[in-house]
C-alpha cells in the first residue's frame, strides 16, 4: 500500500534564493531544491510551479542542466494570478514544484552542427537553457547564431548577458526590435527580417525557436526558403498546460498533448497538425 501513496499531483518544496528584475514586467527567479538534488532537467523542459492558495502554472526552465548545482532558474512575466504572486515573493520564500516535464531540444543531434537559435519576445527564456548548455560544450558545436526579436527596446530581457555573448565571439548575436525608440541604434523590424541578412549552411544547420504564436509560421517559412529541412527545425509551443501528465486535456494540439509530447517538437512531426502552428 505504501508505494501507492505516491501521487503525481503532489509538488515538492523549493526555496527562492535570488530574484532579479529583467525588465518592468519580467523577473528572473533562482530556486534551490529543498531535497538537495539537482533538478536534472533537459533544455526545453518545464516545471509546474505552485503558490499554495493561488494556484499552479507551468514555466520553462531557463538555466542549463546542472550536474551538481541544486539551483535552477525560471524567468516570468507578471501577467496573471500565479505570476503576480511570484513577484511578491522574497528570497527565503518557498514554492512547490512538479517536474521537470515534457520533451527537450535534441542537443545530441546538434553536435557537430551549426545551430540557429531564434528567440522572439520571452522565447529567450527557455532557449537560454539550450544555449548555455551548448556554451559549456562549445567545441562540440559549429556556429551558434542567436537571433533575438523584441517588441520595443524597453521589453528587452537579459540585455547585459546577450551583449556579453556577442562580445565573447562564441555566439553570433543578431537583435531587432519591432518598434524602436530614440535610444535604439540596431535593427528594426520583426524577427523574420533578420534571416535574409545571414548566410547559413542549410544542410548543416539546426534551428531552435521559441516565440509568440504568430512568429512560428513566418520564421519557419524563412528557414525553409533558406533550404533548411523541416527535420532540422525544432520549436517549443505554448499551450494551456494544467496537469503536466497528459490527462487534463487543456494543452491539446489536435491529438497531441503539449505537456508530454511537447513542448519541444520537431517541425516534421507537427507539420500536418492544423492546430500546431
Amino acid at each position: 500500500m505504501s508505494t501507492k501513496l505516491f501521487s503525481p499531483y503532489v509538488p515538492r518544496p523549493v526555496t527562492l534564493v535570488e530574484k532579479t528584475p529583467l525588465s518592468d514586467f519580467v523577473t528572473r527567479f533562482t530556486f534551490e531544491q529543498d531535497n538537495g538534488k539537482p533538478l536534472a532537467h533537459k533544455p526545453g523542459q518545464f516545471v509546474n510551479l505552485s503558490i499554495y492558495g493561488i494556484g499552479e502554472a507551468p514555466f520553462s526552465i531557463s538555466s542549463p542542466p546542472r550536474r551538481t548545482n541544486i539551483t535552477f532558474e525560471i524567468a516570468v512575466r507578471r501577467i496573471g494570478a500565479v505570476t503576480g504572486a511570484m513577484h511578491a515573493l522574497e528570497p527565503g520564500a518557498k514554492v512547490g514544484i512538479r517536474g521537470p516535464y515534457g520533451s527537450s531540444f535534441p542537443v545530441m543531434k546538434f553536435v557537430g552542427k551549426d545551430v540557429l537559435i531564434v528567440a522572439g519576445g520571452l522565447g529567450y527564456i527557455p532557449l537560454r537553457s539550450l544555449l548555455f548548455y551548448q556554451l559549456r560544450h562549445r567545441d562540440e558545436f559549429g556556429r551558434i547564431v542567436l537571433m533575438v526579436g523584441t517588441r520595443d527596446p524597453k521589453e528587452r530581457i537579459f540585455v547585459d548577458e546577450i551583449a556579453d555573448l556577442a562580445k565573447s565571439g562564441e555566439v553570433e548575436v543578431m537583435e531587432t526590435v519591432d518598434m524602436p525608440d530614440s535610444t535604439w541604434k540596431g535593427n528594426v523590424g520583426v524577427i523574420t527580417t533578420l534571416l535574409p541578412k545571414i548566410d547559413l549552411d542549410p544542410g548543416n544547420t539546426y534551428v531552435a525557436m521559441v516565440g509568440p504564436p504568430i512568429m512560428y509560421r513566418f520564421v519557419i517559412a524563412e528557414c525553409r526558403k533558406k533550404g533548411i529541412a523541416s527535420e532540422q527545425i525544432f520549436v517549443s509551443l505554448e499551450r494551456k498546460m494544467k496537469c503536466g501528465l497528459g490527462k487534463c486535456g487543456h494543452c491539446q494540439i489536435n491529438e497531441l498533448n503539449t505537456c508530454i509530447d511537447g513542448p519541444v517538437f520537431c517541425y516534421t512531426d507537427i507539420e500536418a497538425y492544423q492546430e500546431a502552428i
Binding site: 501521487s7 503525481p8 499531483y9 509538488p11 529543498d34 505552485s50 499554495y52 512575466r77 487534463c248 508530454i260
Partner: protein, 348 residues
Amino acid sequence: MTTYTVYKEQLPGLFEKWSKQYALHVPARLREGFYDLVPWRKDLEIAWDYDVAYNSPKRFVMPPHEALITYDRRTYEAKPVFGAPKQILFGVHPYDVKALNQLDQLMEGGSPDQNYIRRREATVVMAFEPLTVSPSGFWASVGASSVAHGFDLYWTKVGPASFTVEIGSAKGEELLAMGGALLPSTAGDKEGARRAKARILTKARKNALRYNWEETPRLLAKCWDSPLWRRYSQMCLACGSCNTVCPTCYCFDIREESDDKLETGTRYREWDGCMLESFAKVAGNHNFRPKAQDRYRHRYFRKGKYIYDKIGELGCVGCGRCVRACTAGIANPLKVFNELWEETAHEY
C-alpha cells in the same frame, strides 16, 4: 464463462447485504423520461426498463469535484488525498461499461492517475442488458452494444422474474454468492439471454451510423475544412453541457481553496469542458481555440479520431446523452458523422 440464474425474489436480500458493505446504486425513475443511478433503499422501485441514466457513471470514478492534495502554506509540505468509497453500480448498460473501460485505459496509461485508479478499484460494476433504447441512443452502431470485460457481473433479464448473471470477476462471484447457493444457468436460460440481447439490438439499430464505425477516423481526417463545423457551431452556447453528460469526457481543471486563516488548503480537480470559451486560453488572453467552430470541431475529432488513434476505439459510445442535453440542438454525433459521411460519399 460461468453463468448463474438468479430470481427476482432473491434480490432484496442481496441488495440488503451488499448495501451494508458498499454504497449501492441502482437505476430508478426520477420523473417522466428521466432515470439515474441512485442510492438503493428498501422501498425503491428499480427501473429495469430505463433507457439511459441522464447523468453518466463517470461521476463515480471521477467525481465532478475531487480533492488531489492538501497543502500547508507555512511549511510548503503537501500530501496526496485519496477518496475511494466502496461502491456497487448495479444496472450499468454496456455502452456505459465501455465508457468506463475507456476511462480506465486513458487514466491508467502513461502517468497512472492514482486518484482514479483507487476509486475504480473500489468500484464494483454490475452491468445490465438494456430493455429499452433511448430515442437518441445509437450505441449499437458504434461497437458499444456488448463488452468483453469491465464488469464484475453481467445481468440479463430472461423471464418475468429471472435473470442470468454472467461472472466477470471473482469479486462479482463472491458478491453473488452472498445470496446463498448459486444455481448454474440452464441451456434454456442461456438461450433466453442470447434472445434478449438480439431483441434489444434490433431496437437499438434503428438509430445507426450509415457506415462502419471503424471508418470514423478516416472520415474525419478528410473533413477538417467541412462547412458542417460552422453550420452546427453557429448556434453553440458554449455551455459545456455535452461535455458534462458525456460518459467519456474526462478533461479537468485544477483549482484550490485555502482555509480562512490562509494556512492550509486543498487542491482539487473539477470537470472542465473543451466547449467552454476559456478552455484553451492562456495567460495574456491568447486563446488557442477562440471560435465555437474550433471548439466544436475539436470535440468531434476527439470523439471520432484522437481517442481512436490512441486506443483503437471510438471516443463516443453512442449513449445519446449529449443529444438530449444540448439546448441548441447541435450536439449529435450520429447526425454529424452521418452528414460528414454523405458529404464525402462521392470520394469513396
